[in-house]
């Protein structure tokens, strides 16, 4: 138990302290001492307070009017209706909010993942645009091919004859020759014919019933081995029996000398 070090003068002033007669400095000294936890002084003051309050019990009892009770209730009700506004501390902006270590790591990982995803999406977008461009080109090519096919189809009529060209040298190579006997024009469509080697060209031949071989012209295939040849029947041709395509030296030959790549019977 702690020793009481309060002066005798102040101890004798406890009654004056309770009656509010002491100077502020004396009140402060007593309250400072009580704050140290002196149990004996606390008990002394509590007992003296009870003694003093007992003096109040000696007064003659008088009843207040009922108005006092009603006024108290009204005042409390009024206060309950108008509650004081509670101060709301504004939330700190995100950049002032303290983040613990785990939070910082999690935030860093999230940012890295976001960056990686952004890079991936940009690359994916680039590839998609490239593919779209390629597909557009393919579509354009296919449209061209359709146009050509439509031309071929449109050239097929009652007055036209179809000659199928086959190859014994290149299995995939093939050709179709449409001969408009009325107009005396030809439309020859060739596919999968290998590109002619350097210094060589393909040469078209018409072979008549008289075994006469007449040159129809020189041509090269495109990268896909295809070519479309619209042409008129050579004047010399009276009756055509076969159509052939051979590989000849650049500039052509008088008669077929190279290998026959395609041949079709009329």
């Amino acid at each position: 138990m702690m020793m009481c070090n309060l002066s005798k003068d102040l101890k004798d002033s406890f009654v004056c302290y309770l009656m509010g007669e002491l100077a502020p400095s004396e009140i402060a000294a007593i309250e400072k001492h009580l704050a140290t936890g002196c149990e004996s002084c606390r008990q002394e003051i509590a007992e003296l307070e009870n003694v003093l309050s007992s003096i109040a019990c000696s007064v003659p009892i008088v009843n207040p009017s009922d108005n006092v009770r009603q006024k108290l209730i009204s005042r409390v009700n009024a206060e309950m209706r108008v509650q004081p506004l509670k101060l709301v501390t504004p939330a700190k902006p995100w950049y002032k909010t303290p983040i613990n270590l785990l939070g910082r790591i999690a935030a860093s990982l999230a940012i890295l993942m976001l960056l990686a995803e952004t890079v991936y999406l940009l690359e994916f977008n680039k590839q998609a645009r490239l593919q779209a461009t390629l597909q557009e080109k393919q579509i354009q090519t296919l449209k061209e091919q359709i146009k050509q096919k439509q031309q071929v189809i449109s050239s097929i009529g009652t007055s036209r004859r179809l000659i199928v060209l086959d190859s014994k040298l290149v299995s995939k190579a093939s050709g179709k020759a449409f001969w408009d006997t009325n107009q005396n024009t030809w439309l020859i469509y060739i596919s999968n014919l290998p590109n002619a080697p350097k210094g060589r060209e393909y040469q078209l031949w018409f072979i008549t019933d008289d075994q006469e071989v007449i040159s129809g012209g020189m041509f090269q295939t495109d990268n896909n081995g295809c070519v479309q040849l619209p042409l008129a029947t050579p004047h010399k041709c009276q009756s055509i029996r076969e159509v052939a395509i051979s590989l000849e030296p650049e500039g052509g030959s008088e008669t077929p000398r190279g290998a026959i790549y395609l041949l079709g019977q009329v």
């Binding site: 004798d12 009654v15 004056c16 309770l18 009656m19 509010g20 007669e21 606390r42 509590a46 007992e47 003296l48 307070e49 009870n50 003694v51 003093l52 309050s53 007992s54 003096i55 109040a56 019990c57 000696s58 007064v59 003659p60 009892i61 008088v62 009843n63 207040p64 009017s65 108005n67 006092v68 009770r69 006024k71 108290l72 209730i73 005042r75 409390v76 009700n77 309950m80």
Partner: protein, 198 residues
């Protein structure tokens, strides 16, 4: 406490003064009304004794219970009883009012010689507390009766009029040391007579 609050609503139990203060601290209006019903006579009577004016005593009574409503959470049981707390608030407010009034004109404290004999034990509505208070009241009155008039007057001037010991000495035309001794010994007599009530 919730169960106590529910019972309080039904008014089927007597709530202790401390429990009432706890409920008031939680803004329980019903508890405040019960607290008022229990202590209003004592508070008003004390204010009347100090102020000797019914209007002012009623104003002080209202202020006391309003203070209880607002400061119930600050009440500490270890510091003293609820009764002592309410009496301390009442005396303090009544004396402040009296001093304020006296700034405009010197009002001497009026001794009421009938106060000792004008007994009424119906101070509070709580039967247990009424019994306790009435017993203590009787003891106080007996103790005051045993004192000399000058000693009783010194204590009453200090307690009910809020005069300092120097002011009492002036009013009673006695040396300050004598007044101090009378008050100290008077309090000691009260303490001895009321010992069994604390």
């Amino acid at each position: 406490m919730e169960a106590k609050r529910a019972l309080l609503n039904q008014q089927v139990v007597e709530t202790t003064a401390y429990e009432l203060v706890e409920l008031i601290a939680r803004q329980d209006q019903l508890a405040l009304q019960q607290f008022y019903d229990r202590y209003n006579k004592l508070v008003f009577s004390l204010a009347m004794k100090v102020l000797n004016c019914r209007t002012e005593a009623e104003e002080v009574t209202l202020e006391v219970f309003w203070q209880v409503w607002q400061q119930a959470a600050q009440y500490k049981e270890a510091r003293g009883s609820v009764l002592a707390w309410v009496i301390m608030i009442t005396r303090s407010r009544a004396i402040d009012r009296r001093r304020s009034r006296e700034r405009n004109g010197n009002t001497l404290y009026v001794f009421d010689n009938t106060s000792v004999s004008d007994l009424s034990i119906d101070v509070v509505d709580d039967p247990e507390e009424t019994f306790y208070t009435s017993q203590r009241r009787e003891a106080v009155i007996n103790a005051l009766s045993e004192m000399s008039d000058k000693q009783r007057m010194a204590i009453e001037l200090a307690y009910f009029a809020g005069l300092s010991q120097s002011e009492i000495a002036t009013q009673l035309q006695e040396p300050l040391g004598t007044v101090k001794t009378r008050i100290r010994s008077g309090i000691q007599i009260l303490r001895e007579k009321l010992k069994r009530y604390f």
